[in-house]
């Protein structure tokens, strides 16, 4: 009965907010009378009572509406997860579109014009956070190992889809009975190029919930990101051509050149901004608070700069994130890292929610022209071309892969090719001179609905049914890190023996170049000399220490505490209960102390700078406390005296104090 109450409350909220919006929209009608009235009173000079309470909606209208929309979106998201079992069956994206449909319907019923997903808003505000989140946290190793496959799917797959669909639709339009004989080939190809691209937002939304194995995930996801260049070029190409009406061989050649310029140019712009961001982060040790802003702003600038030149903004964002991440993470404080992570997740979550809701609203709003044959054929062709494309390309790719793609993998890659808001926005951008614009928009929306609803909802049970390998949850493991690096060196060596300049050879060359030339410019202080393994270990220990402090737990068996690392585990004698308690008390007191101090001083915006110093100070204190703890423990427990004396001339990097800020 508790959950039913929640459902009722929830529906009430939806209706309330949904109605509130159009009422706000109609408020200006009321307001204009008000200002007129006060004008008259000024002229006649009669004394009017001083307005104790006045309403001035116009003043805050725009930000108010924006905030209300975002609030609606977030309340929806909140509500879904309160309703039991709903989110397990239906993916969030579907629910949000339905909500958008409802809200749009409500607005229409009231008589107002529902807002459409403005392409400007979409491309400049809603899309970048999602892509940056994806790019910054892109898992590099699987991506680079499969980059060849991903590129083949992204470029050749999308080209195949576009031409196959465009061509067949043109053939369809030639048939008299369809009634669309006015549509020429170029218009069809333009339509094909819009609908053919796999959408990163939709893929992220659906795949995030099914936890599929890493390989398939990175293939579909990487494809959805890298096909942006192809989409941009094809779209611009066909848009230009359909105005002119004809196409020559020279134009096709220029198109191919354009593709390389767009993709490589985008990557270059992103990389430049990435290096700038890395370089800036080298100097931020005194202004920790604004560190995350640099990451966000440089990335956004990279996106805008490349959009300015009609290069691929998505690839610029990805390149920026990938390039800056290793250096920025070596420079910024742990708190800034957490901030970046959570802000990116937050923004991308809000963006995604808004996009899907607006898709629903736009469906109700947008001008529609329905033609059964065209729309149904489009949906079917979408599926068919995707399946054919994946099977055909996999057949070729498997000849070059070490680990082949199985039939199950192929199925998920084909089935996971979802279309989304990018296709809609590109369709919306088409100028009104296209006589087929409305028909195209309707068809695009239908395809999006089909892929998101049907494919999105059924992919989870299908994954279960086919017993596709799922993602293995794994904590960071120092063993994996060490042995993977070991194998890297081994394979590089064996490639050297064979005289084969392969994958490992070039990776090693890049690493070496990075270590000798790049790192010293981009990483602050002496940290650039730190080997990756040590950095990994330090981060792992730090995470564990923070986790232990936060959960308030202390290990019950002393030998397994992390602070015991410098004491040889072989020779630990039993410790008396009293001593154990004493140690625990000291630990608790020192660590709790820091935590309390941090909490009490960080509430006010003005004390942020003090809190920042507190950040440094408390980390120093944590460091000192750790050292203190270890020193005391080494008194209580005998340490075997066979420690090697340090080699002369070795620069001692104190691990215990290595929590570098």
């Amino acid at each position: 009965s508790g959950s039913f109450l929640l459902v009722y409350l929830y529906i009430f909220l939806v209706v309330f907010v949904g109605i509130g919006l159009p009422i706000e929209a109609s408020a200006p009608a009321y307001q204009s009378h008000g200002t007129e009235g006060s004008h008259l009173t000024n002229i006649t000079n009669t004394k009017k009572a001083f307005p104790v309470l006045a309403v001035n909606y116009e003043h805050v209208r725009k930000p108010f509406e924006i905030a209300l929309w975002i609030l609606l979106a977030l309340l929806m998201k909140l509500g879904f997860h309160l309703i039991p079992r709903l989110s397990a069956v239906v993916p969030e994206s579907c629910l949000l579109i339905v909500v958008g449909l409802l809200v749009g319907g409500l607005i229409k019923v009231i008589g107002e014009e529902p807002p459409v997903l403005d392409s400007q808003l979409f491309f400049l505000c809603l899309l970048p956070p999602i892509i940056l989140d994806a790019g910054y946290f892109l898992p590099i190793r699987p991506f680079t190992e499969n980059v060849g496959t991903i590129l083949v799917f992204a470029v050749i797959g999308t080209l195949w889809n576009a031409f196959f669909m465009g061509g067949l639709l043109y053939a369809l339009c030639q048939i008299e009975s369809v009634g669309l004989s006015g549509v020429d080939l170029l218009a069809c190809l333009l339509f094909g190029s819009i609908v053919s691209a796999v959408d990163p937002v939709a893929v992220l939304a659906v795949f995030e919930e099914i936890h599929i194995n890493e390989l398939v995930h990175i293939l579909v996801f990487g494809e959805s990101l890298l096909n942006d260049a192809v989409t941009v070029v094809l779209y611009n190409l066909f848009e230009e051509f359909s105005k002119v009406g004809t196409v020559t061989v020279l134009d096709v050649f220029l198109g191919v050149v354009c593709f390389f310029v767009v993709s490589l140019g985008g990557v270059l712009v992103g990389a430049i901004y990435g290096f700038l961001a890395a370089f800036t982060s080298r100097f931020t040790s005194h202004t920790r608070v604004i560190e995350p802003l640099f990451v966000f702003l440089y990335s956004y600038m990279a996106y805008l700069s490349s959009e300015m030149f009609h290069l691929s903004g998505i690839m610029a964002l990805i390149a920026c994130g990938v390039v800056m991440r290793p250096y920025v993470e070596a420079n910024i404080s742990h708190k800034s890292y957490t901030t970046i992570k959570y802000f990116l997740k937050m923004w991308s979550s809000v963006s995604e929610t808004l996009i899907f809701i607006f898709l629903g609203v736009s469906t109700v709003a947008g001008p529609h022209a329905w033609n059964w044959t065209f729309v149904i054929t489009t949906v079917i062709l979408c599926l068919v071309s995707r399946v054919l494309g994946v099977i055909g390309l996999t057949f070729i790719i498997n000849k070059f892969r070490i680990v082949k793609l199985t039939k199950k993998d192929q199925f998920i890659v084909a089935y996971g090719g979802l279309r989304g808001a990018i296709a809609f926005s590109l369709g919306y951008l088409l100028s009104n001179s296209h006589q087929m614009r409305n028909l195209f928009l309707t068809a695009i929306i239908t395809v999006i609905f089909f892929t998101v609803f049907v494919q999105g909802m059924t992919i989870r049970p299908l994954v279960e049914l086919l017993a596709v390998k799922k993602k293995k949850e794994s904590k960071p493991s120092i063993n994996e890190e060490i042995h993977t690096e070991f194998l890297d060196h081994l394979l590089t060596g064996v490639e050297g023996v064979c005289g084969h300049y392969g994958h490992y050879h070039w990776k090693e060359k890049l690493n070496r170049f990075n270590k000798t030339y790049v790192k010293r410019w981009l990483i602050a202080g002496e940290n650039f000399k730190e080997p990756e393994l040590i950095a990994f270990y330090r981060k792992m220990e730090l995470k564990q220490a923070i986790m232990m402090v936060e959960s308030g737990q202390l290990p019950s068996v002393l030998p397994s505490t992390i602070s015991m690392q410098n004491i040889q585990p072989r020779a630990i004698p039993r410790v008396s209960k009293k001593r154990e308690e004493e140690i625990r008390r000291i630990l608790r007191a020192n660590l709790q102390n820091n935590k309390q101090k941090m909490r009490s001083r960080s509430y006010s915006r003005h004390t942020l700078f003090d809190a920042d110093e507190e950040d440094n100070v408390s980390e120093v204190r944590l460091r000192k406390t750790k050292m203190e703890m270890e020193r005391r423990m080494s008194h209580y427990l005998t340490v075997p005296a066979n420690r090697e004396s340090p080699r002369p001339g070795v620069r001692r990097v104190r691990f215990e104090s290595g929590l570098s800020v």
């Binding site: 680990v403 064996v494 084969h500 392969g502 393994l533 001692r652």
Partner: protein, 193 residues
């Protein structure tokens, strides 16, 4: 140089060992072998390997070289050369379902891991002790890190992997710890396809 091996003979020998390799592969690797063999006596010595620039700068260079030489010997012939390289051949799908009673091919996942394990385990006691691990860590991170720090890492590594409490990593524990790593892909060189 008048080759002492006809490639067909070598091919047949390797096939018998379970290393199914094409003629072109053997020819390529044989020409590599002869280009390394400065003494032109049909075998390679350690110095021949040390002349390879990639091995000279590789932290595990010496161990890799030793892996080519059987116990106690100083020379390796072409067959031995190929036998070691056989571990790095990609696993073929159609080989997976072959005769189960036949011995496992050299490039199976287990044998690949065994090869890597034996590079750690120099004294061949079937476990990686703390010292052996420390030696490898020292080789990989260079000279600037203190012994205590490396010791902490080594202890943590053993603690994570050790299941039977003998304070070292046995081969089975090694396999278990790497179960999430795609060894078939990682330890394969496409060249040897």
């Amino acid at each position: 140089s008048g080759s002492n091996f006809s490639t067909i003979t070598v091919c047949r020998e390797l096939h018998e060992m379970g290393f199914h390799v094409s003629h072109s592969q053997i020819t390529r690797l044989y020409s590599r072998f002869t280009s390394l063999d400065k003494g032109e006596n049909g075998t390679l010595s350690r110095e021949d390997f040390q002349r390879i620039p990639e091995l000279a700068i590789n932290p595990l260079g010496d161990r890799i070289i030793n892996a080519f030489f059987p116990e106690g010997e100083d020379q390796v012939n072409f067959r031995g050369f190929m036998r070691t390289l056989a571990h790095f051949r990609p696993i073929e799908d159609n080989e997976k379902n072959k005769d189960p009673t036949a011995s496992e091919p050299l490039n199976s996942r287990t044998n690949k891991l065994l090869f890597a394990f034996q590079l750690y385990d120099l004294d061949r006691d079937d476990k990686i002790s703390r010292d052996e691990l420390l030696q490898v860590l020292r080789m990989m991170v260079g000279v600037n890190i203190s012994d205590e720090q490396l010791g902490s890492i080594a202890d943590r590594t053993i603690q994570e992997a050790d299941q039977n409490g003998d304070n070292s990593i046995s081969f089975n524990e090694f396999i278990k710890v790497l179960e999430k790593v795609d060894v078939e892909q990682k330890m394969s060189i496409r060249f040897l396809h």
